[in-house]
Amino acid sequence: MEWFALSPEEWNAVGLSVKVATVAMVASLPLAVAMAMLLARTDFWGKSLLNGVVHLPLVLPPVVTGYLLLLTFGKRGLIGSFLAENFGLVFSFRWTGAALACGIMGFPLMVRAIRLSIEAVDRKLEDAASTLGASPFWVFATVTLPLVLPGIIAGMILSFAKAMGEFGATITFVSNIPGETQTLPSAIYTYTQVPGGDANALRLTAVSVVISLAALITSEVLARRIAHRVVANRVVE
């Protein structure tokens, strides 16, 4: 296993990727749940447009998304300069920018999984809870949310996996700086561009496969445990 020993730089890339993907997933979760509720439960003027905007990162070339991020969240971008001045939050050429890019790329996947799950919830159960005294907030917290949990987990895993593999938007927005914005895919790309980097690229590829598989298996186990509780008896009833 000697050949498999990763160099500190490579460990850096692995650690950074996991950090970026986790932050992207966790930070976009509440927004995705809110967006999914909005799209699944309400009807308003411009809903199709909003739905289209949410799904845009799915169909746009990642480079375009990255460039748009650079324009809006960059140092001189409208939102980027505002956040930098008022909150000291800088995205351009930082790992936070990588997380933002990954979060946005994974957002449509997450919203979609959660929305489908919300649409499958039996509204009659929510009615029953409200006659038992639960206000809309408590109905959401104690009935809707637990029943939607399998969809939330599926959405989180999709978002995480997307973030682990995100390349185009990230490299366009925050470049490829070792130790700051060089995630696994960027590192692999770099190795493939230098002579004799094949072995390194292959090692990181293996790491990438292992992490992605682990994420998928974890989600499968979690989803099955919850689905057993939630979905099974919905079928029976």
């Binding site: 009659k124 159960l125 009615d127 006659t131 038992l132 639960a134 637990p146 939630v230 029976v236």
Partner: protein, 370 residues
């Protein structure tokens, strides 16, 4: 206990316009499917906001849309037992039971968990999850859950409709106890005559989104039987009787009314109250000569008063025997063969086993248990 309901709700396909008042312990909303019963109690529960509503329960205004008053469903403390129990699938039975209680302010809690669990026989089920329960068990838990929230009013929407006969018999005595303990008014939606006859103190008869008649069950009884007839099922006779004595040796109860006696199977606890008995017309046999060597225990001789063609293969025959009117549904073929015509002397035969007062076999068990 007073309940006052006025609802107007216009929809393209259906128009609901009902108003009724009731002071009864259990008010039955009775009528065919699609007549607006469920819509009515959904408005009372606050799940549906109609064009116009005025709902008052024991002086509390739930809704007065003319004045812009509308309490949300969760602010009404109305216990609602749905036809499909609607237990929360991700919670255990115990958590389901306590769900509503948790939202009731402590000062307003009057429900006694131990008593409710005991009354509904739930103690063995508390650790289970909804998917491991039978339909009857689910419905009992749904009732318990509604009671544990200390409701001001209990709504029951055909709680027995999705259950088979055995499960119905399992639940009915519990509902009777709720009615008789009389802590809160109950509104009970049903399209089954025998359920209404057995449970209701007051009846609101509905059809096509309107109230046809409303009043105490005694006053509504004749209409009720006719309405059941219109519904095409459960047509029969409703008799008001009292327990005269028990034949303990043979496990029979003898009911009496104005000198007429009716023997029914099982031990029916004697109460001072009148007992309402529903005899399905299809369960009544007719004979032109007094039968001998027959297992049926009740033979009434009487005179045919009217005969109504039901349109199908059967004919409804009304027989007057003493003070009782008994309806029998026989085939047109039999009526012709026996030459049954108004004025003819016949014998109406009723099996003791077929009389529908289901608490008869149940009560014995309850008494033995304690």
């Amino acid at each position: 206990m007073t309940l006052s309901v006025t609802i107007r709700h216009a929809r393209p396909s259906f128009d609901l316009d009902v108003a009724f008042e009731s002071t009864g312990r259990l008010t039955a909303l009775f009528g065919p499917s699609g007549c607006g019963k469920t819509t009515t109690i959904n408005v009372i529960a606050g799940l549906l906001r109609p064009t116009l509503a005025k709902v008052t329960v024991n002086g509390t205004v739930f809704a007065d849309t003319a004045r812009g008053d509308w309490l949300q469903a969760h602010q009404r403390r109305v216990g609602y037992v749905f036809q499909d129990a609607r237990l929360l699938p991700h919670l255990t039975v115990r958590q389901n039971l306590r769900y509503g209680q948790w939202f009731t302010p402590p000062a307003l809690r009057y429900a006694d968990e131990a008593a409710i669990v005991a009354m509904l026989d739930l103690s063995a089920l508390l650790q289970r999850r909804p998917e491991q329960l039978s339909g009857g068990e689910k419905q009992r838990i749904a009732i318990g859950r509604a009671l544990l929230q200390s409701p001001r009013l209990l709504l029951m929407d055909e709680p027995l409709a999705s259950l088979d006969e055995a499960r119905k018999q399992e639940i009915l005595p519990y509902i009777e106890r709720l009615r008789d303990e009389g802590q809160i008014p109950i509104i009970y939606v049903s399209h089954a005559v025998d359920e209404v006859a057995r449970l209701a103190t007051d009846v609101v008869l509905m059809a096509k989104g309107r109230v046809v008649e409303a009043g105490t069950v005694q006053n509504i009884m004749p209409t009720l039987a006719a309405a059941g007839d219109e519904l095409g099922h459960d047509a029969g006779t409703l008799l008001k009787m009292r327990v005269a004595r028990h034949d303990t040796e043979n496990d029979l109860t003898i009911l009496a009314s104005n000198g007429d006696e009716l023997r029914i199977a099982g031990h029916l606890a004697s109460t001072s109250d009148d007992i309402r008995i529903h005899i399905r017309a299809a369960d009544v046999m007719l004979a032109t000569a007094k039968p001998i060597g027959l297992s049926a225990l009740n033979i009434f001789d009487g005179v045919v008063e009217t005969m109504t063609n039901t349109g199908g293969p059967s004919v409804d025959v009304m027989i007057r025997s003493g003070s009782m009117n008994i309806a029998a549904r026989i085939t047109r073929f039999s009526a012709k063969r026996l030459a049954i015509t108004p004025g003819k002397r016949v014998y109406a035969i009723i099996k003791a086993m077929s009389v529908r007062h289901p608490s008869a076999p149940q009560n014995r068990k309850t008494e033995a248990a304690g």
